[in-house]
């Protein structure tokens, strides 16, 4: 008896849906064991998480609020992935987007509201986008691995904002805290339904639509997918590869920058340290589970938002809040591992002759 692995010649459609679900289930099972080790009942903990994420109108709205930056950052990672660019710099781009938007809110609060909010969006997008483009220049011109450069830029952006909020832009009243003064109300994003759900949700949904149109309907999206398929073919088609990649990074970082902008103007109303909160990394989970599909990313973003919100609630019954983080990690791990099964068929071979062969060959 022996486990056999064979390459699939055709990928069944059902597997694309089924495997991520199985991956998530396995992740929940394993972290259930971890919860049990901490002394809590995993079933009750999961029930609490469910209630915390979807139980009331309030919890559902908090789930949505939590998922907005995840969706935007996820769309950013997704668009670059079509060109086989891995933008690990979402964290830094979120921070830079938030930083640029905060600058406008802090120093030009007298602008008319539509101009101010529109301007913050543009600045947030551009700051995140340019931060990504700069990090990707060594890749585009010298072939240096962008995973390293974009990731390193996270630290630069992180420490830059840390310095800004503790130094030059520190809140003049609450001087002991690492954040800026609160923005004028005019710079707050409009909220809906009497909840904290803000304009960022609309931005995320429109972004998903635009990303879909760009990738699958536009010339540039076609070029990007050709580049992702084969660089040599892109040259052969006369595609300006450098320009396309630069644009991909601008959009990728820009969407992350928007995530930062909506977070500071929609929720926090001030710039502070640590606002990215891992969304730039979690983005990869969304993309992997959604198989790169933009509206799939909206769905997986919502689900991950639920997981994080539920994880916060579960704390109240003594489950460590880190369980939600561990779950995230496990889901990504199994989601990536599951792609193996879309490409290969695995079965158990029960014929006994194989071992006989090995003996006779010895």
């Amino acid at each position: 008896m022996r486990v056999k692995i064979e390459k699939r010649l055709d990928i069944p459609r059902s597997l694309v849906i089924l495997l991520p679900l199985v991956a998530v289930l396995i992740a929940f099972a394993i972290s259930g064991v971890l919860i049990a080790i901490t002394g809590a009942n995993p079933f009750i903990a999961y029930a609490m998480m469910w209630k915390g994420a979807f139980g009331t109108t309030y919890s559902l709205s908090e789930t949505i609020v939590r998922s907005i930056p995840l969706m935007l950052a996820g769309l950013g990672v997704g668009i670059a992935a079509y060109a086989k660019l891995w933008n690990i710099g979402g964290e830094g781009q979120i921070v830079m987007g938030a930083f640029a938007a905060s600058g406008l809110a802090l120093f030009y609060p007298d602008l008319p509201r539509p101009v101010l909010i529109g301007g913050m969006m543009m600045l947030g997008f551009l700051a995140g986008g340019l931060w990504a483009v700069i990090a990707a220049l060594p890749r585009i011109y010298m072939g240096i691995n962008e995973i390293i450069t974009t990731m390193m830029f996270n630290f630069i952006a992180g420490f830059w904002v840390k310095y800004i909020v503790q130094g030059p832009w520190r809140d003049p009243v609450l001087v002991a805290f690492p954040f800026t003064a609160q923005f004028d109300k005019v710079a707050w994003l409009p909220k809906y339904f009497g909840t904290r759900i803000h304009l960022g949700l609309v931005v995320a949904l429109i972004s998903a639509l635009i990303v879909t149109l760009l990738l699958f309907r536009s010339k540039w999206g076609f070029e990007l997918r050709v580049i992702g398929g084969s660089l040599k073919a892109a040259d052969y088609a006369g595609i300006n590869v450098k320009r396309s990649l630069m644009l991909a990074m601008l959009l990728s970082g820009g969407l992350a920058g928007l995530a930062g902008m909506t977070e500071v103007t929609g929720i926090l109303h001030r710039l502070q340290d640590g606002i990215a909160a891992g969304a730039g990394f979690s983005a990869f989970i969304l993309v992997a589970l959604a198989n790169g599909n933009p509206f799939g990313i909206i769905v997986t973003g919502f689900l991950l938002g639920a997981l994080l919100t539920g994880g916060t609630t579960a704390q109240t019954m003594g489950v460590p809040p880190q369980i939600a983080d561990i779950l995230q990690g496990l889901i990504l791990f199994f989601a990536l591992a599951s792609t193996f099964f879309t490409r290969y068929r695995v079965w158990i071979d029960r014929s006994e002759a194989v071992s006989a062969t090995v003996k006779s060959g010895d």
Partner: protein
């Protein structure tokens, strides 16, 4: 040589009623094959006939759905390539499995169980050198793989098997990557290995070569063994008929009655450097007229790729001029040269010519999606593209379940038909076709030739780059030879002489002229 005949107990290998099914394809449909001790046994068949699958089963890579394999009269079942190797069966694949930065000797010993702890490379190197001398496989055991030529790398692959004491060696189209000279060397090696009692299985679709080297030939068609011929029964015409299952019609009708027209492609004093900064094309002068096919003969690596890429604007030009329809295109971008009417059929079909992860539809507009017919300023009109693709697929007989199918799922012949369809449908004035039939079966190659002739007859200026003299002599109105980056004067197609061209390709003659 082939001493043992028709005695079942003397068979090294016997494969009985092998069946192997892939999703949608029956690759082997009850195939039988025997291999005698000391013989070179050729497997002939078109692409997709099931030769490679059969050999992958014998070497343990695939497991047959049913059927039996006997080695030295003993029934065997292989769970992996390692099992097959333990039973003495090894295979040299078309794409080598070597570690570039390791030495030849390191590659030879890589993956062997013994010795467990201390590896004495000096011993391995000596043994590898010894084996090399014995079987005419001279290589430097210390040399790194990346420093070796393709022919030398193939020797390392064979040495790997000999070092493991394989007595059945399977070679998958071994000469497709070799120069004629290297091919001759290889046949000496194969004969020596056979004389030492080993059995050689040799996959090919080059008739002439098989007739020259094999002791027996098994012809495979549609997953079945159609016939096995002894040496004295082999003749080219008969083998070709068995392979195709029908009388082979003459390849194409070359119509020499038409006078060639105006000069369309003009290359003057062209110099191109290779990627490594060495001279790849030196002082080349080529003229192709409307309604003319010029064949560029030469052994791969003599500057053909750089020349083709330079014409298409994919490779920088050092000096010289390229004119299309009298307009200078030197230094222009690839896109501008496409728009000027130059079609290129690259030799690397699925890596360059097509994007294998994209659909047939998307590939159909790879080199024209910017045309106003297919797109506006920003958006692509996929409805229009879909109709265009449907027509392309029908007109050029590309077999695909639907136009949204990803290209990697198509057979090699259909991929090439799609590529040609895209490059020819706009009726470009210039077509550069690089190794247009390499790896294609006889029928698909014939289709490609007919397409090229059709394009010539409507007035295209065509440059066909190939290593296959047969192909060039059938197709070309004129033949030029490239050797070491230098091209000869054109020779009219009807005056071309195989032996003379062969000599020019090997570099004798060019030097005298200079």
């Amino acid at each position: 040589m082939a001493q043992n005949r028709d005695d079942g107990s003397q068979l090294l290998i016997e494969m009985r009623d092998i069946v192997k099914r892939f999703p949608g394809v029956l690759a082997n449909d009850g195939t039988n094959l025997t291999l005698r001790r000391g013989e070179i046994h050729a497997l002939l068949g078109e692409n997709g006939a099931g030769k490679s699958t059969l050999m992958n089963i014998l070497s343990g890579l695939y497991k047959p759905d049913s059927g039996e394999i006997y080695v030295d009269g003993e029934k065997q079942e292989f769970g992996s390539a390692r099992d097959a190797l333990l039973a003495g069966i090894g295979m040299v694949h078309q794409h080598f499995c070597l570690v570039d930065i390791f030495s030849a000797a390191e590659n030879v010993t890589l993956g062997m169980a013994a010795p467990r702890v201390h590896l004495n490379m000096a011993d391995v190197e000596e043994e590898v050198g010894e084996l090399g001398r014995k079987y005419n496989l001279g290589i430097d055991p210390h040399a790194r793989i990346w420093q070796l030529s393709v022919g030398e790398q193939q020797r390392v692959e064979i040495l790997k098997l000999l070092y493991r004491d394989a007595h059945v060696l399977i070679l998958d189209e071994p000469t497709s990557v070799l120069t004629p000279q290297e091919s001759d060397e290889l046949s000496v090696t194969l004969r020596r290995m056979a004389d030492s009692g080993r059995g050689i299985l040799y996959i090919s679709h080059r008739l002439a070569e098989v007739c020259a080297i094999a002791d027996r030939v098994t012809i495979i068609r549609g997953g079945r063994n159609i016939a096995t011929l002894e040496l004295e029964e082999i003749d080219e015409e008969r083998v070709a008929n068995l392979m195709l299952g029908a009388e082979v019609s003459p390849l194409v009708n070359v119509d020499c009655s038409k006078e060639p027209g105006d000069v369309i492609l003009e290359i003057e004093g062209l110099n191109v450097m290779s990627d490594r900064g060495l001279s790849a094309v030196s002082d080349a002068n080529i003229i192709v007229r409307a309604g003319q096919i010029v064949g560029l003969a030469g052994v791969a690596g003599n500057g053909q790729r750089e020349l083709a890429d330079a014409i298409a604007g994919l490779h920088e030009i050092d000096s010289g001029e390229i004119k299309i329809l009298g307009n200078l295109v030197t230094g222009k971008r690839a896109r501008e040269i496409i728009n000027a009417g130059v079609s290129l059929i690259p030799e690397d079909r699925t890596g360059t010519g097509l994007v294998s992860s994209l659909s047939v539809t998307e590939n159909a507009i790879l080199r024209g999606y910017w045309n106003s017919r297919f797109s506006g300023r920003i958006l692509i009109n996929w409805d229009e593209v879909g109709m265009h693709t449907q027509k392309l697929v029908e007109d050029f007989n590309v077999k695909t379940p639907h136009t949204d199918e990803e290209v990697w799922k198509l057979s090699g012949g259909n991929q090439q038909r799609l590529l040609l369809a895209r490059e020819m449908t706009s009726e470009p004035p210039v077509i550069v076709a690089s190794h247009p039939t390499s790896g294609l079966d006889v029928q698909a190659a014939m289709d490609v030739h007919n397409l090229l002739i059709e394009q010539r007859d409507r007035g295209a200026a065509i440059l066909v780059i190939s290593e296959d003299l047969e192909e060039l002599m059938t197709l070309s109105d004129q033949i030029i030879v490239i050797y070491d980056g230098r091209v000869t004067e054109p020779i009219a197609g009807e005056d071309a002489d195989r032996a003379e061209l062969g000599l020019l390709m090997m570099g004798s003659g060019v030097k005298e002229k200079v």
